[in-house]
Symmetry: C3
Subunit: 344 residues, 3 copies
């Protein structure tokens, strides 16, 4: 019986799968309630269409990717006076590295010059710990000096009467004298006029989905105005020419310090465009940040070395090495249009 | 009484929170209706599993990030003939700046050479408004000429009998003569063969989530074909060697104008890979756009200056300055595989 | 009648639009069922608030964009000995291209030098198929050699008694001798010490929405430790100084092969920061991949040519061309903080 009852229970459960369950409804045939009901329904649809679609524009598509091109051009000259090279004029072709107008570039503001280096033997710099020696046995021939400038020749060079010195090395001689960046140093020379250098930033953007393109240089701008304006957040927010001094000032850091030790600055161009409105409403906003500030003190600053190579009459190569301190500018472009479709 | 009734109303409202409200259902025990109901239910599930999951592959994961490396190599030679340097051959090492095979590079197509500039005194260019003068008092010593080339020496240089001239400056002399880019000018020389320069673009991509990697250079391609093919949208859509003339043609702009004044072109490589299908189906598509077209007329084009430094026997530095016009190529890689998991 | 009945049917259908249809509900006034129902409701809300919001932190905002700056500095010296230039010391200023401390740079590890090239006439390289000739008629004057080095002068140069040779061309002469990269070749010289070159990577990041910034160089690190540590995944995972040999080793590829033929390596820095926890928990992870491995064999490797220009006493330009093989490093920074708000 029990098993029978169980079987019938299972069967009834299986069959109950085939039951069709529905809610019980009441049809109220009152015209008043019905009209009210439909009016409410239409209001909701009307609200959606009228408010959300038209005024909030949520029917538009959110454009993810923006295509952008940046061309930069610097102007301004500086003069320096060093023991090594005398009076020297710096034009953009001399102080912008690399020179090709990219979105990322470096402006020399301070430098140490080591002219006329030739391959040969000379003493390693005392600033390199691994180059110190007390006798020739500390200078095993052919070994390189760790974080140094060349290869040991086997000799220890000591000044008269001193008990220690530095190994002789095969290297580009003379070795660069390691100065700490310091104002007024005789081997170091600051490009004081750097504050007035101007950077002309041309930025072209394109929203590929909408075939919409624009530039930060206004088409309507008269040529003359463009030649003499300077960016100012309040007075000239759309002038694409920036004074280097203003850029550093806007990051909140000291120009004197950046010019001396170097630094890295990001210029963020934000385009916020509502492509349903007039295209002239689509405008750039500029933002300036110093981006190398979180390191410990001894890591701040920006410098690197580069060299110019020459050959003398006998075909021997020699070079002038520059340790340059300066400001690296990194122009980044962000774009957002306000269009949002419902269908992603 | 009223307060009492109010209290009881509140109490009844609070208690009514504990009421449980459910719909009233009818269980229709008709096997016909029930079977139909379950059949419809199963069809929907079957549709979801069969169609959406298997053929539409919406179960796959959408990969956001793609890793990409681009290596470029140019080929082709050009010859120019200028008053300054005579007949000159241009190889990639001469006309590609920078030379290291990056995804962004510049091809010289036109140039103005100012050879043998030395530091010294000469007249400022008449093209610089701030350099004009009527007498020595307009040329205060030591001041730089705004957007000019050097520092005033204090003298105003005027041609015989003229009432105005330009200030003498300390600068790299002679000053570059400011030519407008113009074909046939004697100081300007176009690299006419630039149209036939070829760009070999190697593009390696990787979808890190899937450890899937591929290159636009086909593994199966025979070496000989790769050496002689040229990209063509219809005939050779997968040949990674592009003629510069074809690239400019595909942007819809005039080659003559770009070669003369310069310009900026974006090459977009789109990878659309369905990683469920055979890997050989994962192929690149190339797209070419001119990206500097929205500026006002006087801002179009692309040029910059660079210099080569020399030293003479007496150790004096001199330089040759090149104002180069040309085409900047910017290769951008976008990747999308078609895999979409439900779980994001 | 029929039309009348139809009309009335339509009318009744239209009017039935105004019917108001609602489910029939039962209000169960059982306190037991009601309490259970509310308890379940509160549990769900409690679970959402307690678990999802507080422990899973899904209330935080997901930060999309990270701002990042990378500064690189290389150390180490190498020595090479070639027939052309004798013993030469390579410092970072010589082997890092470009020298300005960017996130993408190239390290020379092997090179072929072609010194003292001058503009003039010489034989095209036999490696260029289009330069071969049997007689002067194969060398039409003024035409460029396809993928060759210059322009035909009209003469076919053949060695004594041979039936074929190569066209004479106007070019930078002598032409580079096309060596395959091969160890021990007399014109080729490997920078063997490259394995011990070190790369100091400074990476500064910023989450703009949270005004949070950090660097991979620890503020607390003592100066001395930073000078001598080397990155090691287990022992020194936060030391920002990397041996080139270690980097190549971590990609799983042969150092000998990469040094000889060149290659391209990506260093991915991943920041995973939970900004709700202590800021010192926000740390970088480094990842190393070779990114040029999918091409067919003859496409692998990385090389390019660059030149140094000189002038002799008579003002004639000559150059030394270097075909350099080496390792391109591409540093990419990804950032993700763990904050996720519900409101996107």
């Amino acid at each position: 019986m029990a098993s029978n009852s169980c079987k019938s229970k299972i069967l009834s459960n299986v069959l109950s799968c085939l039951n069709y369950k529905t809610g019980k409804f009441i049809i109220a045939e009152s015209k008043r309630v019905g009209t009210l009901y439909r009016v409410i329904q239409l209001s909701i649809i009307g609200y959606l269409v009228g408010y959300v679609f038209l005024s909030k524009k949520s029917y538009q598509a959110k454009e993810e990717s923006i295509q952008s091109a940046v061309i930069t051009k610097l102007k301004g000259v500086a003069v320096t006076n060093t023991a090594e090279s005398g009076r020297m004029v710096w034009e953009p072709v001399d102080y912008v590295i690399p020179p090709q107008g990219d979105a990322v570039f470096f402006i020399v503001t301070n430098f140490i010059e080591t002219p006329n280096q030739k391959l040969g033997n000379c003493a390693e710099s005392p600033d390199v710990p691994d180059g110190h020696c007390k006798g020739d046995k500390d200078c095993a021939k052919g070994e390189s000096v760790k974080t140094g400038h060349g290869f040991r020749t086997g000799r220890c060079l000591r000044d008269n009467g001193k008990s220690s010195g530095t190994c002789e090395i095969y290297s580009w001689c003379p070795i660069e004298s390691c100065h700490q960046p310091q104002d007024g140093h005789k081997h170091m020379s600051i490009l004081r006029e750097a504050e007035n250098f101007t950077i002309f930033i041309k930025n072209f953007i394109r929203f590929p989905k909408f075939s919409f393109s624009k530039a930060n240089v206004q088409d309507t701008a008269d040529k003359y105005h463009l030649k003499k304006c300077h960016y100012d957040e309040l007075l000239e927010p759309y002038c694409p020419i920036f004074r280097l001094g203003d850029i550093v000032y806007r990051t909140g850091h000291s120009f004197q310090d950046m010019v001396l030790r170097g630094g890295s600055i990001g210029i963020l161009i934000k385009w916020k465009c509502d492509l349903d409105r007039d295209h002239s409403e689509c405008k750039p906003r500029y933002n300036f940040t110093r981006i190398d500030i979180n390191a410990s003190r001894e890591s701040t600053g920006f410098n690197f070395r580069h060299a110019r190579y020459y050959k003398n009459e006998s075909g021997e190569v020699y070079r002038t090495q520059f340790k340059v301190y300066g400001i690296r500018i990194n122009i980044m472009v962000h774009g957002k249009d306000e269009c949002i479709y419902f269908v992603s």
